[in-house]
């Protein structure tokens, strides 16, 4: 027996398969479609997404493929037009949460066990994040959005801020793991500076789970936005945004008029799962 690099394993074999051209199609196709829709949005929509074009609550028909919503707006056109807005909300939130989360996680993870000022600051920050995380997101979102006002940007920023503790925690855990890795000592013996260690080894090795998590944050941002809309602090109508559309249509859905909620909900689910698949395929270390 030679010293094999891959130990025998009971884990699913699919996980280890490198992304080949065949397995790429189901992962990449929905994303390409999404980006196309986001880019070409206005060209694809048969109606203006913000104008009343018919009687409200019309079921899907040849004229209105996805029906009309409670305002009498065309659901299909709105689902299309919302793609761009939601990509912005999700991406901005994911980006913000990840960038801040990585920074904070690296800082706390590397300094926590030190003495002196950086150590106590790091421990304080960790506790603070725990506390922030202890609050129900939706309530903090309610408060923050009530304060900042409601538009796409504030919504994205608030959703991003809500997820900072999650990302910071993920990164911190990884940093604590990576800190024990022998390659850091090897790097130190190779003469690398502390900054080099941080940037060249700690950062890439401890952030990949956060990157994978970013796809989850994308989804959470939009669903939190929807939840806020449901509680009455979403984006003002008739801004095309999936979360707000789902929330606006929720009452109609409980009366059996499912279409104005279902289609944006499907769009959201497909998007989140597409991003999640992408992250799963490309960002897992192994």
């Amino acid at each position: 027996m030679t010293t094999a690099t891959t130990p025998p394993t009971a884990a699913p074999a699919t996980r280890r398969r490198l992304p080949g051209s065949a397995s790429m199609v189901p992962v990449v196709a929905p994303l390409v479609l999404l980006l196309l829709v986001a880019a070409l949005g206005p060209l694809l929509a048969p109606y203006s997404p913000i104008d009343v074009v018919a009687a409200p609550d019309q079921p899907p028909s040849t004229q209105h493929w996805f029906g009309t919503d409670i305002y009498g707006l065309d659901v299909f056109s709105r689902v299309i037009a919302a793609t761009r807005n939601d990509l912005v909300v999700g991406l901005v939130a994911a980006l913000l949460a990840t960038v801040i989360g990585v920074g904070v996680g690296l800082f706390t993870g590397t300094n926590e066990s030190r003495g002196g000022v950086p150590g106590s600051v790091a421990r304080g920050v960790t506790r603070g994040l725990d506390l922030f995380d202890a609050l129900p997101q939706i309530v903090v979102g309610l408060v923050l959005l009530a304060f900042f006002g409601r538009n796409l940007l504030t919504l994205s920023v608030v959703c991003g801020l809500l997820m900072v503790p999650t990302q910071a925690r993920v990164v911190r855990t990884e940093v604590l793991r990576v800190r024990r890795e022998a390659y850091l000592e090897s790097a130190r013996l190779s003469g690398e500076s502390e900054r080099g260690l941080l940037l060249r080894h700690m950062l890439p090795n401890s952030t990949w789970p956060a990157l994978e998590n970013a796809s989850y944050i994308f989804g959470v941002a939009v669903t939190v936005a929807a939840g806020l809309g449901f509680l009455g602090v979403g984006l003002p109508p008739p801004t095309p945004e999936w979360g707000a559309m789902i929330a606006d249509g929720a009452t109609a859905a409980s009366a059996g008029r499912w279409w104005s909620s279902l289609f944006p909900c499907l769009a959201l689910a497909v998007t989140v799962i597409a991003f999640s698949n992408l992250a799963h395929q490309y960002l897992r270390r192994r």
Binding site: D51, Y71, G72, P237, P238
Partner: protein, 542 residues
């Protein structure tokens, strides 16, 4: 050892079984065994404050436990089994009768033998104490709300004897408004004996006490069990002054989500649901087993206020243009599913005795005229403004969307802004926005009250910040007419209303039908101007 243990254990188990078998169960498996009739009502979360003077309160709960000196009588409506309040006449309630002096300034009330839930008989002192409380308690809003009819109870109220009270007003034209106020929730008469026994240094009017001890009134029901924000159980009193209510028990459950409320009554799991959206109400109207009341002139209305203290609505021409840019018919059919009516542009209720609509300006959707007016006002390319609505108010949001679409061809680029309920409340009083949509539902429907409601000098309700001397002069003149149901009064109101409609500080869009659905099991629902359900008027269809 085992044997010795076994005996006590067996005893213990038997004892436990016995105890649990004997334990009193609050709920019986078969509700029909006891004869009581009960009704289940689902309410939106409208707060459960149990005294008006503590601020936010539940008017429906207070209406069930409290009583007023006079009340507005119920008459049959056009719809089978549905009653409605006649908002312009007043009959005795706690007062057996009342009379008016010849100069129309002094109203004298003869009190009945009503007994409170606490068991004390009604006296003139109860009336005096109640109004002392309303004007003395820190959190009471009566002083603002009752002005100018009642400004100082100490001088205006006189105890003639134990069973007689008189109220003096400043001008005879205020008389109908006085009666109207005395019939509404602001004027509940409390059991002063009970409340005075519970005052403390911190709580000189027993307000905090009343929040937790609801049965200090003369109303038809008492609350026997309740949990704030969740449920309340009302039991009928057999010594209510107007007899024993037909329904023995009313269970009110708070269900915050409108969709959940609609689903529940559709499935037959509730008797009455309140606070339905127009869509749900229209939807439920088609269910055979449900009654969705439609009344002749509902008092809930959607109002677009144009704030006149800043551009662009400081310009009369722009306001006039806006009055031509609103799709009244689309709003009624799309937002309200035709569960709203529009009786002209005026705001005085057209069924008011003596009402005269002659020559009132009429607002109609007319984009060309709107564009022309805008051009004349100096906006040939149209203009953009922000329309603020409360995020808690779905109908106003839907109305805003309809206006946005329809106003575009009229030259208005409407930006909709939603703010949280609490913020909306604050902002509209601060008059900081350009335009806003709100829902109004005045309790008193007298012309003087409705004309003054949104236009008062320095009033928080004057959301348009529109103060017009010519209008106030006309309004004051109408208050001087002693007979408030005469043609003379009608002509006087017409002058004021014409001025108001020409100036367009706000646009009343439509009068909205009540959002209530009732199971066919229940009879006797009566629409009231305070839009609450009168439990005492309900009965069960056998």
């Amino acid at each position: 050892m085992v044997r010795r243990l076994a005996k006590p254990m067996a005893v213990a188990v038997a004892a436990a079984l016995l105890v649990s078998a004997c334990a009193e169960s609050a709920n019986t498996a078969d509700a029909s065994t006891d004869e009581e009739t009960s009704v289940t009502i689902l309410q939106a979360d409208i707060g459960m404050g149990l005294i008006k003077e503590a601020g936010a309160n539940n008017t429906e709960f207070l209406g069930a436990t409290q009583a007023t000196l006079v009340r507005k009588p119920y008459v049959e409506s056009g719809q089978d089994g549905v009653f409605e309040q006649d908002p312009f006449t007043y009959e005795g309630y706690l007062a057996e009768s009342y009379e008016v002096s010849d100069d129309g300034l002094v109203y004298t009330f003869h009190l009945s033998d009503a007994v409170s839930a606490a068991g004390n008989e009604l006296t003139a002192d109860d009336v005096l104490w109640s109004f002392e409380l309303k004007f003395g308690a820190d959190t009471s809003t009566a002083p603002g709300a009752m002005s100018p009819v009642i400004t100082d109870p100490a001088t205006q109220f006189t105890k003639i004897d134990d069973k007689t009270v008189s109220i003096t007003i400043a001008s005879p034209g205020l008389g109908t408004t006085l009666l109207s106020m005395l019939a509404d929730a602001l004027a509940f008469v409390y059991d002063s004996t009970e409340m005075q026994a519970n005052v403390s240094a911190d709580d000189p009017y027993a307000i905090a006490w009343a929040q937790e001890n609801p049965n200090y009134g003369f109303g038809p029901y008492e609350i026997t069990d309740w949990e704030v924000g969740s449920y309340a159980r009302f039991e009928a009193r057999d010594n209510w002054i107007l007899g024993t209510p037909e329904v023995d028990v009313v269970n009110v459950q708070v269900v915050p989500d409108a969709g959940s409320r609609a689903s529940t009554i559709r499935a037959g799991d509730a008797d009455i649901v309140e606070g339905l959206s127009p869509t749900d109400a229209a939807d439920l109207a088609s269910v055979d087993t449900l009654i969705v009341p439609t009344v002749s002139s509902p008092n809930t209305s959607q109002v677009l206020s144009l704030v006149t203290n800043k551009a662009p609505f400081d310009n009369l021409l722009v306001r006039q243009a806006m009055s031509r840019a609103i799709p009244f018919e689309d709003i009624i059919s799309n937002v309200y599913q035709d569960r709203a009516v529009r009786t002209g542009s005026g705001i005085v209720f057209t069924n008011t005795p003596g009402y005269d609509a002659a020559g009132l300006p009429e607002y109609e959707y007319d984009p060309e005229t709107a564009r022309a007016l805008l051009a004349e006002a100096g906006y040939p390319d149209g203009l953009s403004f922000t329309l603020t609505v409360s995020a808690a108010d779905a109908e106003s949001q839907a109305t805003a969307v309809q206006i946005q679409t329809a106003a575009r061809p009229a030259g208005f680029d409407v930006q909709i802004e939603t703010v949280p309920g609490a913020d909306f409340h604050t902002g509209r009083y601060a008059k900081i926005w350009q335009a806003l949509l709100s829902v109004q539902a005045p309790w008193a429907l007298t012309p003087i009250y409705t004309l003054n409601l949104l236009t008062g000098v320095d009033s928080q309700n004057n959301m348009s910040d529109w103060e017009d001397p010519e209008f106030y002069e006309a309004l004051a003149a109408s208050a001087e007419v002693i007979d408030q149901s005469s043609a003379e009064a009608g002509a006087a109101w017409n002058v004021a209303e014409t001025r108001l409609l020409e100036e367009v500080p706000f646009i009343q869009i439509a009068q909205v039908q009540p959002g209530i659905a009732i199971s066919e099991r229940i009879a006797g629902y009566a629409w009231r101007t305070d839009n609450t359900v009168d439990y005492a008027h309900l009965s069960i269809n056998e």
